[in-house]
Symmetry: C2
Subunit: 446 residues, 2 copies
């Protein structure tokens, strides 16, 4: 059985029913679909593009395997000659996209598919699934990064993400957007995301004495000793570890940090810092975790809590305040003719589009223009061809390079957009040529 | 490369650092961990247990593969003799659990692991990841089911779920909790979840005339013709399809339903119903979708909107109002000694526990008692042994049987808990024996 993430049947049934209709109609002209987000939810001033890498992997590997074809044949919904036609199906189209890490805004396409209709339609469900989630997490993680400049920030979200792939991709997307690492071992193995983590409460509990747990752990991990000190009484544990720290120092082992995971983190951090400093342990850092998000981080930083780093988990990896974006993958052209839907509240801009971005003298972004790909207004175009005839045009950049680019993107935001507060919307102009095309499309009868 | 969902390295680094410490200490006595949810979020009156099936699969297949061991050896964090010890690691423990579909409440363990410490610790991250997500979706989907009795309800969430596994498991969990089917083809293939779905707006747009799209689709799918009628003008489309319906009828094809996907669904449904009825098409059903959740369903049902079925997607599959539960997998006993953490706001009940449920004369649930597994108060015990020495004790029930059981569970809820409004909390009593054990545990010095 194919793994879930690789199955071509991980799709909506209607993709296949439409494909059969197109097969019957012999319709397979070139289709143009674009992926975009319709609007910013409250508490987001921008989006950060993520997921392109996995989307390109998906397109490169697109095929039905024999088990899947057999199931399609036997399920009673599809004609044998249609199922047979799927055996040779591959993605042969072109992709234009914004690089991962690019800051973008509502209605701006971040990816365009230009391919024979059946291929372009079939991939819709998984393309949305892949592009939305990393964009969602990267957009949230960017806020976490902006809330705590200079602090060590680590993704701790895996256990409460929605399944295996979410856990893995949340580590990737949050690192891409500026976190310093993750607890997720597989993300370390796959993409060299720096790994962090030491002990759970269960480790302390399993030992009859907390101090014995601390000492044994230090000897087992002499170069990465972070001790979790809130299992029973945070301040008592901090006090008790002072003689241990001196004993370990004689053995050449330095306690790197203590971790707080419950209660009033600011209050505990102040008390623990005072205890450690009074004991001469100025070098032991304080790391905190527990239901954190960008707002709590900003509060702790603003209040001067002596915390050196944070583990940020569930609320970032599920984008808990807004766990989805109102995003879509829409047909904008078929057989050379621009198209759009006009459904109430869901009308789209027709045709192949490009986003041109202008910067001010300080290098900050000033305004975007959404227009036809064939136009050339002022500014730098954001979408570029990354795949042609089903082949990638260049190897994927290492994740650390994507992260550098995302960091530059965040630095190019004006302060109002970088703030956690909801800002006045960034200016995205719709060019006259695009408005005119929409008018022409709407004039056609259907 | 192993698929994400099967990788033993899809875990938190601290599981492995703790394992190395246990290896160094030669600590591997029997550990008892329990998984539970700490509290009900606003807008939830109960939980529905999900994910046991996948959790047991995970435990049955637990092993490190050669690539993973090689990476662990080379990453510079672990001792060779420790990594070598992982090669033979398998799950050899016992599992007690509530059946999937069981209704449960805060602090009640739904699953207990009894296993050598290293195995029981290693599996924490993925066990939480698997148990939380399906429980989250099943608990939300149960509310969706209760909000619209008798209506056809279909999961449409795949594209905006968080990755591949979430998409697949959301289809499973929502069907388990009472939905009638899904658009997710892979869920149909894997578990025979009934499949639904016909056409997208793109299909209508790709044809120059909407009616041509409708007619061609009907001929391609004569037994499952549902037409999406909101691409341009909903009521105009309903009017236009009347002559088409008569033409198709002469060819032996019945239009089963029309789908509305935008605007004021109740208003459109009333108008479309009137148009269809005036045209004598009483048999064509109305199906609606678009950003629905249990509250909107309840409103549409209460308002008497003539809608026969609903596609419910993003908000259900991401559990959008509460996209995570405050759940935990905690050590409650090690080497025969009951234990608990006392961290502020996060203290747990120690020892191996059982939940006993009492029913009233009408067969509705009346109260639960949380107590030690060794006690026998009034009521029926909810956890039962499902795995021993790493082997399942029985084959898994077919999903349709789990769904029947969940339906009975929902029927056993008193009306206040079945309501969408937040109810007075269900009574979960903590037995004196458990309170006494906690007192004794707290008296020990650490």
């Amino acid at each position: 059985m194919r793994p879930t993430e690789a199955s071509t049947l991980l799709t909506d049934l209607y993709q296949l029913t439409m494909l059969q209709a197109y097969f019957d109609e012999e319709m397979n002209e070139t289709a143009v679909f674009e992926f975009f987000v319709r609007k910013l939810p409250a508490g987001r001033n921008f989006f950060v593009a993520g997921g392109l890498e996995q989307a390109l992997d998906f397109l490169s590997d697109l095929r039905f395997d024999p088990d899947e074809l057999e199931w399609l044949s036997s399920c009673g919904r599809f004609k044998p000659e249609f199922v047979a036609s799927l055996a040779g199906l591959r993605f042969t189209g072109a992709i234009d996209a914004m690089p991962e890490g690019t800051v973008f805004f509502p209605d701006e396409p971040i990816l365009r598919v230009v391919a024979p209709m059946r291929e372009a339609q079939l991939v819709e469900t998984r393309m949305v699934n892949l592009l939305q989630y990393q964009t969602l997490v990267a957009s949230k993680a960017a806020r976490v990064r902006l809330a705590a400049p200079g602090k060590l920030l680590v993704d701790f979200g895996l256990r409460r993400t929605h399944g295996a792939e979410a856990g893995l991709l949340a580590a990737r997307a949050s690192y891409l957007a500026g976190l310093d690492g993750t607890s997720n071992v597989l993300a370390g193995m796959r993409w060299e995301v720096p790994l962090f983590g030491t002990m759970a409460h269960s480790y302390v509990q399993a030992h009859d004495r907390e101090l014995v747990a601390f000492e044994r752990f230090a000897y087992s991990h002499p170069r990465s000793t972070t001790l979790l000190i809130d299992t029973y009484d945070t301040e008592a544990a901090a006090q008790d570890l002072l003689p241990l720290a001196r004993r370990l120092a004689r053995a050449g082992i330095a306690i790197k940090a203590v971790r707080l995971d419950s209660g009033d983190l600011a209050a505990h951090a102040h008390q623990v810092r005072a205890i450690l400093d009074a004991g001469g342990e100025f070098g032991i850092r304080i790391f905190a975790s527990g239901n954190l998000d960008e707002y709590q981080l900003a509060g702790l930083v603003a209040g001067g809590a002596p915390i050196d780093g944070f583990g940020v988990g569930t609320r970032m990896s599920t984008s808990a305040d807004h766990p989805y974006f109102d995003c879509a993958y829409k047909l904008q052209e078929y057989a050379g003719i621009a198209r759009r839907k006009r459904s109430e509240g869901k009308a789209t801009w027709p045709g192949r589009k490009q986003v041109f971005r202008r910067f001010d003298d300080a290098g900050q972004i000033a305004a975007d223009t959404l227009t036809l790909a064939s136009e050339s207004p002022a500014g730098a175009p954001l979408l570029a061809r990354v795949m042609d005839r089903g082949q990638r045009l260049a190897p994927s950049p290492p994740l650390v390079k994507v992260r550098e680019y995302a960091s530059q993107q965040l630095a190019s935001l004006p302060p109002s957009l970088r703030s956690l507060d909801t800002a006045a919307p960034y200016r995205v102009e719709v060019a006259p040529a695009l408005i005119e095309l929409a008018r022409q499309v709407d004039e056609r009868e259907h």
